[in-house]
Amino acid sequence: MEVNQMQRSFLEYATVLFREGFLDGQFSQLQMLQDESNPDFVVEVVSLFFEDSQKLLNDLTTTLDQQNVDFKKIDAHIHQLKGSSSSIGAQRVKNACIAFRNFCDQQNLEGCMRCLQHVKQEYLLVKSKLEALLRLEQQIVAAGGAIPVLSEFS
């Protein structure tokens, strides 16, 4: 596939992701931060996000499984997840976290569990989509092309 085509695919895919709310302007900001001195910046940050989120989700699952659920802890985890997902532009994950937080505030265990499922779901979705997007990006770079800028989405 030639570079132009790859770039087009990349843009199309990115557009869909933005339109469907998986990503928001913050992701574009990250893209714009990437430069020659940090050519893998986005990949790096996204990887950090995946790692961290996985841990948080695991912790959340464990905490919700306890006999006596520690809602404070839940809140802390969710807050963190909200922060990192918003920093990376994972909008739907962030929104799911916000909903989760509300239930947590009310100490509504069932609501929390449902929210956790939802958050996990959104996380897995955005994870696979980001991976796909970044793969496209890498292909472009490997083919010597430039990564299209997503500034219109920021």
Binding site: Q26, Q29, L33, Q80, G83
Partner: protein, 626 residues
């Protein structure tokens, strides 16, 4: 910046390319930023953004490490950016530490844009509050906080300074007579300012210097010096502690009355804040004089530590007090038995609203003494304080009570001008509190609210929390507040003069005007409060940038406020840009919320706050001595 070590948990972005000259010419390029966040994703992003701004970035993921870095490198950083929620230490606690010890501008950040949290940031003295996700634009301008702080310090402090000291941008140098940290950080900014000021001041100082004709460097309130100061204040008694006499008692060559005066002002604020009594209009002197308040005389016979240990003092309060006061546990001297000690406003809520950390216990046990500031005259009459104290003092032990009583007496002296809180406990009250203005006032009477930010540069550490905590203690605060009301209004004692500079300063980066209280809800118990609130004029703390709190503020759960009264919505107004990133809170306010705390206390069946608050048309800043 010279970082001797490179622990794995933090990294520096560049290595010592900085020469003072280079920095000077290109300010804000090379601004040395320390970023603290436990979220690795955010940390990395911030680092990159800051580097793109050409700042020199050091990142670390733990507050303890950050503190260590800062302590080891006192002049190594210009500004600190810290997350609010961190596992090992609450961001606000870190903020206080930094304010006390290093007096650096600190910017808080969080994904949490709840009003109460943002408010906390303000009251704890943060220069700014960024909402995550942080954008480049927000970071680009953080240098302004560095400059502003310096500027305020120059303005606030009586200067006597020798030619040489100001110029030193020596980062390596630690304790210079002048404020080294300040100068070295925004170096070029500092330099030209310094020269200018120096010229002016040299002329002035010679004339007005009454203790010596020598040109003195800017006074640095070292631990020892501060200790002498405190001793002198205690000797004189809070009421009588006037700068001239303090100066005489201290008998420090080269110290002038002006130095003492400004230090005294700050000290008072500090005490007030520590004690958690309603803030005086002067607000808390938090970061401006960080190092000076290290040693705090212990309350006579009163050992916070033991108190805490005995479980009477919530450990967190103790820790926070210690943290606040000592930032590192300096020695404490015993004050005289007669000196009033600021009440340890130990409320369940804890002055600083810090969470219980085992670490705090460690701090407590670490030998840091529990030293409460003593003898800081506050605006309350002793009587009121006693009342206040008694009502509030569930957690106080007897001795604590006693000391507190006296402290309280001293602490909460209502200053007529600072009746911010007294009367108008509305959103402005909030503000006023935030600004450290007479919290007392709000509780008591609807007097004019004065926002006094005096000694603070733009980050005011308002003892709002404290006072609220005090007031809002679960135990029948209502009577307390009513008492306070009477008493607070009774005028100031000790001639504490509200200083409105801070307010001005604050307003520099904020627009005054109506602010959006977005769902400010508090259990407004009494109509008084509402009225009072209505009248409070204050510069609002947070700007409702994109703040849709009005729409958003959902019903405030009564539970969230834990108040007896049903919550009422406080009408919010939109604030023009207040300089905070996204100001506002739309979520329910926690108990820590000043406003709610205050309102809680005022449980006299306040109706809907909205009507009473007079937010309409914005805040009136009448009482603000702009």
């Amino acid at each position: 910046m010279n970082l001797g070590m490179k622990p794995s948990s933090f990294t520096t972005s560049s290595n010592s390319w900085k020469s003072t000259d280079v920095v000077l010419d290109q300010f804000p390029v090379g601004l040395r930023v320390l970023v603290v966040d436990d979220d690795p994703t955010c940390l990395r992003i911030l680092e990159k953004m800051l580097r793109n701004c050409l700042y020199e970035v050091t990142k670390c993921n733990r507050a303890e490490i950050a503190l260590r870095l800062l302590r080891d490198n006192r002049n190594g950083y210009d500004v600190v950016i810290s997350d609010v929620h961190m596992p090992d230490m609450d961001g606000f606690k870190l903020l206080e530490h930094i304010g006390l010890e290093m007096d650096l501008p600190v910017i808080m950040m969080s994904a949490d844009d709840g009003k109460d949290v943002v408010m906390k940031g303000v009251t704890h003295g943060a220069c700014d509050y960024l909402i995550k996700p942080v954008r480049m634009e927000a970071l680009k301008n953080i240098w302004q906080h560095v400059v502003r702080k310096k500027k305020h310090e120059w303005k606030d402090k009586e200067y006597q300074q020798s030619g040489g000291s100001v110029e030193e941008g020596e980062r390596q140098q630690q304790k210079q007579p002048s404020e080294d940290v300040d100068y070295s950080s925004s170096a070029n900014e500092g330099n030209w300012k310094n020269s200018k000021k120096r010229k002016d001041e040299e002329d002035e100082s010679e004339d007005r210097d009454d203790t010596s004709s020598l040109k003195k460097p800017r006074v640095v309130w070292s631990v020892e010096l501060h200790q002498q100061f405190v001793t002198a204040v205690n000797q004189l008694g809070i009421d009588k502690a006037v700068p001239k006499k303090i100066l005489e008692l201290m008998n420090v060559p080269g110290l002038t009355r002006e130095n003492v005066a400004s230090h005294l002002q700050k000290y008072r604020l500090y005490l007030r804040r520590l004690s958690g009594v309603s803030p005086h209009q002067n607000g808390f002197m938090g970061p401006t004089d960080a190092a000076t308040f290290g040693p705090i005389s212990s309350i006579n016979g009163f050992d916070l530590q033991s108190l805490a240990a005995s479980g009477q003092l919530p450990p967190q309060s103790l820790a926070t007090i210690q943290a606040a006061t000592l930032g590192g546990g300096r020695g404490a001297t015993t004050s005289k038995s007669s000196s009033p000690i600021p009440p340890l406003v130990v409320d369940q809520r804890n002055i600083f609203s810090f969470e219980n950390h085992p670490r705090q216990q460690n701090i407590i046990n670490g030998g840091k003494q529990v030293n409460l500031l003593h003898g800081i005259p506050t605006n309350m009459d002793s009587k009121q304080l006693v009342n206040l104290h008694q009502s509030a003092a569930q957690s106080f032990t007897n001795n604590l009570s006693q000391s507190n009583n006296s402290l309280l007496a001293h602490m909460v002296q209502p200053h007529p001008r600072t009746h911010i809180l007294n009367n108008e406990i509305n959103g402005t009250h909030h503000v006023s509190v935030v600004h450290g203005t007479a919290y007392n006032n709000s509780i008591s009477n609807p007097s004019t609210t004065t926002v006094d930010f005096s000694s603070r540069s733009q980050s005011t550490e308002l003892p709002v929390n404290n006072s609220f905590a005090l007031v809002s203690s679960n135990s029948g605060m209502s009577n307390l507040t009513s008492k306070l009301q009477e008493e607070v209004n009774s005028g100031t004692r000790g001639g504490f003069v509200p200083n409105y500079d801070v307010f001005n300063d604050l307003s520099q980066n904020q627009n005054r005007g109506a602010h959006d209280w977005g769902g400010l809800q508090s259990s407004v118990g009494s109509s008084n409060i509402q009225q009072r609130l209505g009248g409070v004029s204050s510069s609002v703390l947070v700007r409702p940038n994109g703040f849709s709190s009005n729409q958003k503020s959902g019903p405030l759960n009564s539970s969230s406020l834990t108040t007896d009264n049903s919550l009422s919505r406080i009408k919010t107004e939109k604030l023009p840009d207040m300089g905070f990133q996204n100001g506002l809170y739309h979520e329910q306010f926690g108990q820590e919320d000043l406003m709610s705390a205050l309102l809680k206390q005022q449980q006299e069946g306040m109706g809907s706050v909205e009507n009473e608050f007079g937010f309409d048309g914005g805040y009136h800043l009448d009482n603000l001595p702009v």
